[in-house]
């Protein structure tokens, strides 16, 4: 008995479809591959890190989105997840880690402290990591719930999917990095 089951991938890019094959542009294929295998580097410095542990555990399970492979070396990481208060002493370390990541790389900024310094409006705390490195997605909250982290990751995936393969070599990108004093 023949059964016809229509399978429609939820996030299918535009392309040419036929019996048993699907063709799309290289940009979109690469974007799909990148978006669904983001390897995060958790830069967890305080309570947001605890919330991130819940996100990684079985209940929320970040692995469903292809991001279960934590990388504790920037060499194999695509996504820098900054979670927690970054003091001014920590700032150069964070910056070094970001600069040593391989291209292409994205930055997810989790929680009030990492985004703006949060309640720590003092001399010793960096008032937002975007003062030293470019940030792609901010997650609000103190600390944000795991659902918000998942939402943030999905936003990063959207960015990865829609990014042109030439973006990282473009002069605009270099200019953007230079504005942060990188390179």
């Amino acid at each position: 008995m023949e059964r016809n089951i229509d399978i429609h991938p939820k996030h299918q890019p535009d392309g040419f479809e036929g019996q048993g094959f699907f063709a799309t542009s290289l940009d979109k294929a690469v974007g799909l591959a990148r978006a669904n295998s983001l390897w995060p580097l958790p830069f967890a410095t305080s309570c947001c890190g605890i919330e991130f542990m819940a996100t990684m555990a079985s209940h929320y399970d970040l692995a469903r989105f292809g991001s279960e492979r934590m990388s504790f070396s920037p060499r194999q990481a695509d996504l820098l997840m900054v979670m927690g208060t970054i003091s001014k002493k920590m700032a150069p370390v964070l910056r070094q880690v970001y600069e040593q990541m391989a291209e292409p790389k994205w930055v997810l900024c989790m929680g009030a402290c990492a985004s703006s310094g949060g309640i720590f409006d003092t001399y010793s705390v960096l008032q937002g990591i975007d003062r030293i490195i470019p940030v792609d997605v901010y997650i609000p909250g103190c600390p944000p719930r795991p659902e918000q982290v998942l939402d943030g990751l999905l936003k990063i995936q959207e960015l990865a999917k829609s990014e042109s393969t030439r973006r990282r070599e473009s002069p605009e990108y270099k200019e953007m990095l230079n504005s942060y004093g990188i390179e």
Binding site: L26, P74, Q96, E99, Q100, E103, T165, E169, E183
Partner: protein, 124 residues
Amino acid sequence: MEAQQSHLWDYLPVILMAIVALGFVVTTLLLTHWLGPKRKTKIKNDAFECGIESQGNARTPFSIKYFLVAILFVLFDVEVIFMYPWAVNFRELGVFGLIEMFTFMGLMIVGLVYIIRKGALKWE
């Protein structure tokens, strides 16, 4: 009974699979190198030491004593490992096992006395 002859073409599927496997690896490596963006700066190429600036060279000479102590530890550690099967089969092996193990341990003790007399474990 028919003589079994093997021909080279019998291995064709295996060879084909090897070629495909190797080809896939090489193609993927080349393709990712070609497609992936790169940015090489001095900081990027530095050694990763958890974000802290690296100081000095990792390849500095250090005292031979560390190596000597480590290798002697392994030697006598293995000696203890040999005692476990003896302990498990202690009753089965009986007096014969006892004599054999004491000979073995005697040899090792002679070695231990030798290295101590040589001063291999003297740290200062």
